[in-house]
Structures are given as structure tokens and as C-alpha cells.
């Protein structure tokens, strides 16, 4: 169930180069902050990322319109359907949907949206509705990875290209869908480990507040974190792994249990910001002071970055939800008839004590 | 012409349940093309017999010969497969499946690939049902049909499964008159096709309309069998109720004293023209203080429904009830209780006692708000009320805190009486107050009813026990098929008159008298 993760890479074909360039441009502030972050949080993350680049296998990584079997069209005159998986009730989903909407507006593309409210059956019917309403292109943030066959068949019948964002679907790229655009969650885990190693000095016991069980984000963020710890700081021991279900209250409750049974804990890696903030609440409630226990989280919400400024959180790895520019750029390139990568991996930035204050405005 | 073949022969069938001999050495013979009435009052053993025939129960003794060979069905399904089908009061089909699917359940036509041939099934279903007077879209779910039509489907299904015997348990209880006619014509067709029908009903008109032979059960025994035509209605009723015609009985078999003096001419309860669809038709009766009015009639004649309609437990379509001159809001049990009407329900176990609560809580249940202040229960006042009634009614329980569900039937009944007496009611509606309780407790309850009437209560007494009804009541209002068919007063309160009225003779006599006076 492990998918090979790819870093963006330079490719020789002109279309892909064009896309890569466009991504760099449209990603704008993000790209910049990524650069800064790589510099600021020092090289381990960046170095690790470069080492992980997989040599592209020819033919398996790009997708062109002829191979996919769709027809060329001009994005400006097209209707794009966007299917969001979860209710826009957390910062990530809010920012993600807003980014898609903003980009559609900016480009003057007609956008149809639907929200599955975390019900997979609704998402399937949502997408079928979007197709019925005349969507020429689809952007899908999938709730599940499996069970997409009916939708894919319906889309194929209408020759509608699909781009999935933030989660992958289990299907054949460039046949069932065009591209998958996402952060590299394993890499996020690795970079969180780097921050943790730095904050704790690479020694002592740390805990992980896991995300929801059975979620690829949870497994991958855990995998990256543990791998990097094992590799770089063997004296840092993960002694506690309990789920906080990505929720603040659960993060608080689990942390309360943790600090009583393991008073010597030095660090807590929370796989999202909310659980991290719950951990902060638990530490405050137990009379700890800021910095007593080092906390590293993933997501990059404003509250968490503020936590760094306040001294309670040591580092936040961003998981960039602003998929709009990249998704539309991919669709534009593809519908023009040029090739696009099958896996588009985003460069995420990071926040730490030195850049939190200055860059908090970029947090979502 | 040779006599029709014997389809079923039951010899010496017996079945006991703990404490009851439900069926005792019963014989029954059915011939092809025979429509056989099976009758008896509640507890006579009809349903036990049916359940033995259809494999629900196993007999303790006796044998069943079906189409020449001895059988012993382990399950109802086995009986059904062998050719004995039962149509229950409640249709036992699958409401959400289509009519056609129900009709063909378990024997669906399949095409040569083994796949359900729906088109053929629907076609055949439509054709079959037309023969039963049911013209509906067979693709509709069964539950969208009326009860009558559903019953026809069940019947058609029974016949289609090559039934040799069809048992119908009160099939007309929820049918409209027009549907009853259809049912009868179907029964006659079954008869002509050589199928034996066992017909259970309390409606005499129906029995005489379709049945040729009859078996009468009483207290688990067969007390009569033979041709129905040889038995007139009065004889049928008296056989069923176990009373010989014209037999003069000495009084004093019950604890009832018989007469009470109505202390007031103004009725304490007056019910006018109560009508409940399918159940009651313009039933009127009145009770004066200190009077015990009996409600007579066969099972299913509307006695229980009358009591429930008066007490607000059964919504009426029309009619009104006044208590001591004050009209009651219909369909509200609390309103009736506030006005002073108390109902001791027939189904003591499921509608009377609250089995998990203690004797004390059960007695105090209705009167609790009166023993409370600001919603807080005064335990002392509850104790005093409970003690009073436990003593007065001689309720035998290990302690007031014993669960009512653990008491004997008689004591449960006394607890219920105590619950109502604590409310100081004006009218007591007693539905089978002594059924299923032992002799001693029965006598006590009867005596108590007398005392209560003597104290000025108005009492409505429903009882299947004729002695109890006759000796306990000052007047008897007789119901038949949900309507009042007569009233016995004074010297006319006799078993003989009661049975004649139930059988319908009284009406005839009455009419004859009227005609005579007119002429």
C-alpha cells in the first residue's frame, strides 16, 4: 500500500517544463516561503528531499491528452467541477476550497462545486451530478481512495479529464484520471522529525499524537517521522503513540494521560495542528511552562504558528492546502495538448521560532 | 356416489401446559370438500388444536392421520409443504415484497438460466388473483393492499401450494362486508375443488352461511360434532357455553348476592351511540350508582371495545360519554380517570400491571400525583394508602416491595383493583376480572365487586363466565357483532334468556311481539 512519492523534477519535454515553470510562478508566495523555510530550518529537510528524488521511469510519469483519450479545449470556455470531500469546517478544507474558487474566478472559468460532507456515497453522487450538469473537467478532493469505479466510468464515457488533489485514488493514472496533486506526507513527517531532533537535542523520549486510524495521511506522517528519527537520532525514543483523531479535545485528553504516566516526556509530535494545540492546553492545565515539552505539528494553521510565537510550539510543518493555482495550471496545460506529470508534489514550507513571527500572515 | 375421501383423522389428541390441560382427548375428522366450523369460547382449545395440526406444538398423546398416513410435523413449514395451510388473522406474508413475489414465495418461476422470470410471475399472479376477485397491480408491495385483499393473496397462495386443508382463523375479523362475500365465494370454490376447510369464527351468521359440519370445543374437550344444519343457533350457543337449554340452576355458585339497589335514578355513567370503525356500532348503555351492569355477548362481540371506548383508551368515531352528568372528552384515558372512570383491563399482564415495579409502586401508580406535593412523593402517605389496600383486599405478597410480576394472577388483579380504588372512582369497568385466577381469589374479587356496588359505585362487568355474569349483574346488556342486540332486566336476567339473545332469538321474539302489538 506504499506509493512511491516523487519530488517535482525537471523533465525534458517542453510541456512539462512549461508546467513546472508555471507552478513555480503561480504558487507564488508558497514557493518563496518554501525557499525561505528550507534555508531557515536548515538543510536536513531540503537535503533529505533531494536524496529522495526517484529517477523517472519513462512513460509512467507524464500524461498527454491523446493517451488519455480526451479532446482538446480552451480552459477559459470550459466548466470545471470541484468535488470537496469534507465539510469546510477545518482550516485546511476552508483554505483548499477557497483556493480553488479564487483561482477559478481569477481565470474567469465557470466553476461548479459540491461538498460530500464526509459521506463517500454523497461524493460519488456529487461527482455524477457535476458531470450531469456539464462539467468538462473535474477536480476531486477524494474522501476515500477506493470505490471510484462508477464515477471513473461515467467520466470516461464523457471524456472528462480528472485531477485529484490532496488524496490519491486507487486507479490508473493517465487512464482513469490525469494527475494527482498533493503534498508529500512522508516528507512532512521527516521534516517534523528534523524539527523535533533540533528542539530536543536528539535525546530523550517523545510521543506521537496520531491522526485518525486508517488514513493515509496518518500512516505516511508517522512513517516519515519514525524513519528520520531512527536514521538521525537513535537516542530519541518514540515511547508513546496514541490517536488524537485529528481533534483538539482528543489531543488534550491523550496528552493529559501521557504527561501523568510519563512525566519525563521531552517532546510531542502532533500529526496535525489541532491535536498539537490540544496538547498545549493539556500542558497548560497541568501547570507546565512553555517549552517544558517540545511540540512539533503539521499543517501550518494560524493558531499553531501563533503557538510558536508564544513559545509553546517548537515547529510547524506546513501542508499547503492552496491547490487552486496548481490544479488549474495542470488542467490548462493538459487541455492544450501538452504533457503533464502524473504525480505533482508540492513544496511545503515550515515555521519555526525564527520565521514564525514574520510569516504568520501566510499561515491559513 | 361414494362418500368423499377422508383427508384428516385426528384421534385422542391431548396437550397440556404447566397447570392447564389445554386439549383433552379430542377427535376430528375432515373429508375432502368439507367446510368445518371449529368453535368454542376463549380457552376452549381451538388454537391449541390448530397449532397441533400445523406443527407448532407436538401432541402429548393421540395421533394425526393425514391423507391416509400418520404424520408428525416438526415445524409449520413442514405442515405447509405437506398440504395444510393456515390463514391467520394477521396475514403472515412479507409486506414489502410485491404481491406477485408473495404469491410465488419459495416457488418462483425461473427461466432456463435459473433466473427469476419476473414477467411470467407477474402475468400468472395477475391471472390467479383475478380468480379471487382481486384486481390489483401485482408489482405493488403487498402492504399497499387492503387487509381483505392481502388475505385473498394469502389464500391464493395457500391454494396454489397444493393445500389439501386450509385452516382459517377468524378470517373475517377485519374485512368489509363486500370482502366477506368474496371470501365466502372463494371458500365455496375451495370446497368444490375438494379441499377441506376448517373455519374458526365467532360470528354465527358466517358459520351458518358457509359451514356444513361443526366441532364444538369446551374446556379442551370436544363436546359436540356433526352437521351444522342439525344444530340451531340457540343449541349451538348453549353447547358452546356449556349450558343446557331450560336448565334451571340454583343460585349461589358464585359469591355474588345478585341484586343491588340502585341508590339513584340518575345514571352515574351514560354512554350514547359509541361507534368505532369495524368494532362498535352505536353502542349505548347507562349505569346508575350502586348498580352492576353486565355486558354479555360472545368473544369478539365488542365487549372489551365498549369498555375501552368508555374509558378513553379507544378513540371513538362518534358518540359521547357523560359521567355524573358531565360530558367526557373522548379518547383520553387521563380525562376519564379524572372524571372517575376506572378500567380494569382484560389483558392484565400487558395492559394492567407494570410487572417490573413493586406492589407498592403499582398500587400508588395512578394516585401518585395526589400523594405528592410539588412533584415530590410523600412516602408516608404512599405507605398508608398501600397498607390500607393490601389489608382491605388481602393482597398476598412477601412485602410491598415485591415485584408485581412475581405475584399470582389473583393478587395481581387485586393490586389493580387497589390502584383504582385508591382513586375513589365513580365507575368501575371490570373486563374479565376473574379470568385466570384461582377459585379462592375469584370468590374474593366477586365479593369485593358486590361491596363496591353497595358503596354506591357504578360497575360494568364483563365476563365470559355466564354464572358470574348472570349472578353478578342487575341488568345485562347484550352485544353481538359490535352492536347492542338486547337488554335483560329483572327476572329476565337468566342464562337462558341471555343465550337466546346472543343467538338472535330474542330479536325475533321482540320483533314478533312488536308486529303483534302493531297488528
Amino acid at each position: 500500500m506504499q506509493r512511491t512519492t516523487h519530488r517535482p523534477r525537471l523533465l525534458t519535454r517542453p510541456g512539462v517544463v512549461a508546467l513546472a515553470a508555471a507552478v513555480a510562478l503561480t504558487a507564488g508566495a508558497c514557493a518563496k516561503s518554501e525557499d525561505d523555510a528550507s534555508k531557515d530550518t536548515q538543510s536536513p529537510a531540503a537535503a533529505g528531499a533531494e536524496q529522495k528524488v526517484v529517477t523517472p521511469k519513462p512513460g509512467s510519469k507524464t500524461c498527454a491528452i491523446d493517451a488519455y483519450g480526451a479532446e482538446k479545449l480552451d480552459l477559459k470556455n470550459a466548466t470545471v467541477g470541484f468535488s470537496q470531500s469534507e465539510k469546510e469546517a477545518n482550516p485546511f478544507r476552508i483554505a483548499e476550497t477557497r483556493s480553488i474558487r479564487d483561482e477559478a474566478k481569477k481565470r474567469g472559468v465557470k466553476l461548479l462545486t459540491a461538498n460530500a460532507q464526509s459521506q463517500f456515497s454523497k461524493q460519488i453522487s456529487d461527482v455524477q451530478d457535476l458531470l450531469a450538469k456539464g462539467a468538462d473537467l473535474l477536480v476531486i478532493a477524494p474522501l476515500n481512495s477506493d470505490g471510484w469505479d462508477p464515477v471513473l466510468q461515467a467520466a470516461a464515457a464523457k471524456k472528462v479529464p480528472i485531477v485529484t488533489i490532496d488524496r490519491k485514488i486507487n486507479a490508473t493514472a493517465c487512464k482513469d484520471y490525469v494527475s494527482f496533486i498533493a503534498s508529500d506526507f512522508v516528507e512532512q513527517g521527516r521534516r517534523a522529525a528534523d524539527q523535533m531532533i533540533e528542539a530536543t537535542g536528539g535525546k530523550g523520549e517523545v510521543a506521537i499524537l496520531l491522526g485518525s486510524a486508517g488514513n493515509n495521511v496518518t500512516t505516511e506522517r508517522t512513517k516519515g517521522f519514525k524513519e528520520r528519527i531512527a536514521e538521525k537520532a537513535p537516542e530519541l525514543k518514540v515511547v508513546f503513540e496514541q490517536t488524537g483523531d485529528f481533534a483538539r479535545e482528543k489531543g488534550q485528553q491523550v496528552t493529559e494521560q501521557l504527561i501523568q504516566s510519563k512525566p519525563g516526556i521531552k517532546g510531542i509530535y502532533a500529526e496535525n495542528d489541532e491535536m498539537g494545540l490540544g496538547a498545549v492546553a493539556a500542558l497548560k492545565g497541568a501547570g507546565k511552562k512553555a517549552g517544558d515539552v517540545k511540540i512539533v505539528t503539521v499543517d501550518g494553521t494560524r493558531n499553531a504558528v501563533q503557538g510558536i510565537v508564544d513559545g509553546w510550539i517548537s515547529g510547524v510543518i506546513e501542508s499547503n492546502p492552496r491547490f487552486g493555482p496548481l490544479a488549474f495550471q495542470t488542467l490548462e496545460t493538459f487541455t492544450k495538448g501538452e504533457e503533464v506529470p502524473q504525480d505533482v508534489i508540492i513544496q511545503d514550507s515550515a515555521y519555526a521560532a525564527d520565521n514564525a513571527k514574520s510569516e504568520i500572515s501566510k499561515a491559513y | 356416489m361414494a362418500p368423499p375421501a377422508e383427508v384428516l383423522a385426528v384421534r385422542g389428541l391431548s396437550k397440556s401446559f404447566p397447570g392447564v390441560r389445554a386439549l383433552d382427548d379430542v377427535d376430528l375428522t375432515l373429508h375432502a370438500g368439507e367446510v368445518h366450523a371449529l368453535i368454542g369460547e376463549n380457552g376452549a382449545g381451538k388454537s391449541t388444536l390448530i397449532k397441533l395440526l400445523t406443527g407448532v406444538y407436538r401432541p402429548d398423546a393421540g395421533e394425526i392421520t393425514f391423507q391416509g398416513s400418520k404424520v408428525s410435523f416438526a415445524t409449520p413449514l413442514e405442515a405447509q409443504k405437506a398440504g395444510i395451510s393456515t390463514i391467520y388473522q394477521e396475514v403472515n406474508l412479507i409486506p414489502l415484497l410485491s404481491v406477485a413475489r408473495n404469491l410465488f414465495l419459495g416457488r418462483e418461476p425461473r427461466n432456463r438460466f435459473g433466473v427469476l422470470d419476473i414477467a411470467r410471475m407477474n402475468r400468472e399472479a395477475e391471472k390467479t388473483l383475478r380468480g379471487y376477485g382481486v384486481r390489483v397491480d401485482v408489482r405493488r408491495p403487498l402492504r399497499t393492499l387492503g387487509v381483505g385483499a392481502q388475505q385473498m393473496v394469502a389464500l391464493a397462495r395457500a391454494v396454489a401450494t397444493d393445500a389439501r386443508i386450509v385452516i382459517m382463523d377468524e378470517p373475517t375479523s377485519s374485512l368489509e362486508p363486500r370482502e366477506v362475500e368474496t371470501l365466502f365465494s372463494v371458500i365455496r370454490r375451495l370446497r368444490d375443488a375438494g379441499i377441506a376447510v376448517v373455519y374458526v369464527s365467532h360470528r354465527l351468521d358466517e358459520l351458518y352461511a358457509v359451514c356444513g359440519t361443526v366441532t364444538v370445543l369446551r374446556d379442551g374437550r370436544r363436546v359436540h360434532h356433526g352437521s351444522l344444519a342439525d344444530l340451531d343457533r340457540l343449541a349451538l350457543v348453549s353447547t358452546m357455553l356449556g349450558r343446557d337449554l331450560g336448565e334451571v340452576r340454583e343460585e349461589g355458585l358464585t359469591k355474588f348476592t345478585g341484586d343491588h339497589e340502585a341508590t339513584d335514578t340518575q345514571p352515574v355513567l351514560d354512554a350514547r351511540e359509541l361507534t368505532v370503525p369495524h368494532k362498535l356500532h352505536e353502542v349505548s348503555l347507562s349505569i346508575r350508582p350502586g348498580e352492576v351492569v353486565g355486558l354479555g355477548g360472545l368473544l369478539g362481540s365488542g365487549r372489551t371495545e365498549t369498555a375501552k371506548a368508555i374509558s378513553g383508551a379507544l378513540p371513538v368515531r362518534s358518540g359521547r360519554v357523560t359521567v355524573a352528568g358531565v360530558p367526557l372528552r373522548g379518547g383520553s384515558a387521563p380525562a376519564a380517570i379524572r372524571a372517575g372512570v376506572s378500567l380494569l383491563p382484560e389483558d392484565r399482564k400487558s395492559e394492567g400491571i407494570v410487572p417490573g415495579l413493586s406492589v407498592r409502586e403499582n398500587i400508588a401508580l395512578a394516585v401518585l400525583p395526589r400523594l405528592s406535593r410539588f412533584g415530590l412523593v410523600s412516602e408516608a402517605r404512599v405507605d398508608s394508602v398501600v397498607d390500607t389496600f393490601i389489608k382491605r383486599l388481602r393482597i398476598k405478597a412477601s412485602s410491598p416491595h415485591q415485584k408485581v410480576g412475581e405475584l399470582s394472577g389473583g393478587n395481581q388483579q387485586k393490586v389493580l383493583l387497589a390502584r383504582w380504588l385508591a382513586m375513589n372512582p365513580k365507575v368501575l369497568l371490570l373486563d374479565e376480572p376473574t379470568r385466570g385466577i384461582d377459585v379462592g381469589a375469584k370468590a374474593e374479587v366477586q365479593k369485593l365487586v358486590d361491596e363496591l356496588a353497595a358503596d354506591g359505585l357504578g360497575v360494568l362487568l364483563i365476563s365470559s363466565d355466564l354464572e358470574e355474569l348472570i349472578e353478578g349483574s342487575d341488568r345485562v346488556v347484550v352485544l353481538k357483532d359490535g352492536a347492542v342486540v338486547g337488554e335483560l332486566t329483572g327476572d329476565d336476567v337468566t342464562e337462558d334468556k341471555l343465550m337466546r339473545t346472543i343467538a338472535g332469538d330474542a330479536q325475533v321474539e321482540h320483533l314478533a311481539k312488536e308486529v303483534a302489538t302493531d297488528g
Binding site: Q242, E249 | V354, L357, L376
Partner: protein, 320 residues
């Protein structure tokens, strides 16, 4: 008597089951306390007990209402949604002060309870279906009112969540007072007895002239109000309103606490002390597994085992 001696063996089994159903939950709590004292480091400390009590307090409060509903042979699936709704409404009205906000929360909760009660008592919808509608709709409304988590910085709310009297946190005090109050209502009031009678035999209660509809409606309103109290307290403790995840699966925790505590799902009996102990049992079980860093799925399995054991013990005393 002769019969009794003949049936010694099954009687003994029934007696064991009965004992288990009545006292099993206390035995379980005691066993967990003893085991943890031995195997869990830092377990026997005031801070730890305080943590466990504070964490379990909202569950207890919700379970109290649930016990009343279950006593009427019903169930209320909407309690988690009511908690979320309470969180949203608190966030929206906190600007007017804590008390006004609490008042509006109570109004919203009462409305949900009324809707539940009306569906069950007047329309005759099965409780599980009626409250399922509000379980979905209530959380939906909560998210419409407040689409995302919001941090709350209100000193009164903060002190409600983390303050104490004589070292006892408000949360624990409130849960204890409510438990005593609900137990009193069940045992000593007309309402409590009518509730039990309705739960044991609705037809009998109806024929006995009890105000069946009124009692049922009040029960669902009370249950919703208690859930709202729990929602406000959890929000106060978190100092954030989180309508997305607050109260998720709370209905299951509450039902578990009630059933494990010896209140039969068939109605007619309510065991408040057992319900409190049931909630504590689940809390200690979860805490034990977390403290020993056992896989989270084990918690669910352990809870399932406790429920099955409770239901098995209840089997012997169910309705016949």
C-alpha cells in the same frame, strides 16, 4: 420449595448473573484501580485522579440524561450533536457574557429535546429514528452556526473549565451535583416513578392515566439540557469551540456507561449510581490502555468486551 431444590444449578447461575449486573460495574472499577496501582507508574496520585475525573465528568453528565431516556425504553442518539450545538452557540453569544450565552444554549438544547420528545411521544416515531434525525441535523446546524473551530478567550468560561473549589474542579462538582439531583428525581418524585412505569409497560401506564406524552417529552428535554451542560463544560475546558469534533461518538459512550451500569435497555429501571460507575469504568479502561501505550484499536475492543459482558449479565433479567 421442592421445585427450588431441583433447580439449584440454573438458579445459581441466574444469581451470579444478577449479582454481576448489579455489582459487576463496581467490581470492575475496583479491579482496574487495584491493577493500575500495581502496574501503572504515577497512577496513585491526586493529579491522576483529578485528570480522570475531569475527563469523565462530561460523559457522566450526558450519561445521566441517557439513563433517563433509556429508562423509558428509548434512546437518544442526538446528545453528541447537542454538545456540538452548545459549543457553537456558546462561541456565538459569549460576547454578551457567559450567563446570556448559557441561556441561549439552554434554549437551543431545549428546542432539540422538544423536537425529539415530540417525534417520539406525539408522532410515535421510534426513538432511535427520531433522535438519529437530530443527531445529523443538530451537528449540521452547529456547523452552520460556527463553521470552524474558534478559540474562546473569556475569563469566566476559562475558570468554569479549569477553576476549582477547595481543590475540586468545577467540572467534577457539577457532575456530582447533577448525578445526585437526577438520582433524587428518579427515586423520590412523581415524575421519576411515572418515567419508570412508562418504560416498563407503556400500555399499562397509558391505561393507568399517566401523562405519558408529557413525561416522555420532558425526559428528552432534560437529556438534551444535560448534553448541553456537558458541551459547555467541554468547551470551557478546551477554551475553544469545536463543533466539528466535540461530542463525536458521545452517544455511544453514554449508552455504554448506562448499560454497563446495570440499566436495562428494555426500560423500567434506572440505575444512576451504576451509570456513574459505568462511565468511570470506561474512562479507567481507556486511561489504562493509553498510559501503557497499547494500540488504540485495543481500546475499542476492550470496550466491546465490557459491553458484551454487561449485556450478557443483563440477559438473565430481561423481559420474559
Amino acid at each position: 420449595m421442592a421445585e427450588a431444590t431441583l433447580r439449584t444449578v440454573p438458579l445459581d447461575k441466574a444469581r451470579v448473573l444478577q449479582w454481576l449486573q448489579t455489582y459487576g460495574v463496581y467490581a470492575g472499577v475496583a479491579a482496574l484501580l487495584v491493577v493500575n496501582t500495581v502496574i501503572t507508574p504515577h497512577f496513585l496520585s491526586a493529579e491522576n485522579f483529578r485528570t480522570q475525573a475531569v475527563q469523565v465528568a462530561p460523559v457522566i453528565i450526558v450519561a445521566l440524561g441517557m439513563a433517563l431516556v433509556i429508562g423509558t425504553e428509548g434512546v437518544d442518539l442526538s446528545v453528541g450533536a447537542v454538545m456540538a450545538l452548545a459549543a457553537s452557540v456558546t462561541a456565538l453569544y459569549l460576547g454578551y457574557g457567559l450567563l446570556p450565552a448559557l441561556l441561549v444554549v439552554a434554549l437551543f438544547a431545549a428546542a432539540v429535546g422538544l423536537a425529539n420528545g415530540a417525534l417520539v411521544a406525539l408522532v410515535g416515531v421510534q426513538p432511535i429514528v427520531a433522535t438519529l434525525a437530530l443527531m445529523v441535523g443538530g451537528r449540521g446546524l452547529a456547523l452552520v452556526l460556527l463553521p470552524q473551530l474558534e478559540d474562546l478567550r473569556n475569563p469566566s468560561l476559562a475558570s468554569l473549565g479549569s477553576g476549582d473549589v477547595l481543590g475540586i474542579p468545577y467540572l467534577i462538582l457539577i457532575a456530582a451535583v447533577l448525578a445526585v439531583l437526577v438520582a433524587f428525581v428518579v427515586r423520590r418524585t412523581t415524575f421519576g416513578r411515572q418515567l419508570l412505569a412508562i418504560g416498563d409497560s407503556r400500555p399499562a401506564a397509558q391505561l393507568a392515566g399517566l401523562p405519558v406524552r408529557r413525561v416522555l417529552i420532558i425526559v428528552y428535554v432534560v437529556c438534551a439540557l444535560l448534553a448541553a451542560v456537558a458541551g459547555v463544560l467541554a468547551t470551557a475546558r478546551l477554551q475553544a469551540s469545536d463543533p466539528t469534533s466535540l461530542g463525536n461518538l458521545m452517544e455511544l459512550s453514554a449508552i455504554t456507561a448506562v448499560v454497563v451500569g446495570g440499566t436495562p435497555l428494555t426500560g423500567g429501571r434506572v440505575n444512576i449510581a451504576g451509570t456513574v460507575a459505568g462511565a468511570v469504568l470506561i474512562q479507567l479502561l481507556t486511561a489504562t490502555l493509553i498510559k501503557h501505550d497499547l494500540p488504540p484499536s485495543w481500546t475499542q475492543i476492550a470496550q466491546a468486551i465490557v459491553i458484551v459482558a454487561a449485556v450478557y449479565a443483563a440477559r438473565g433479567r430481561g423481559k420474559r
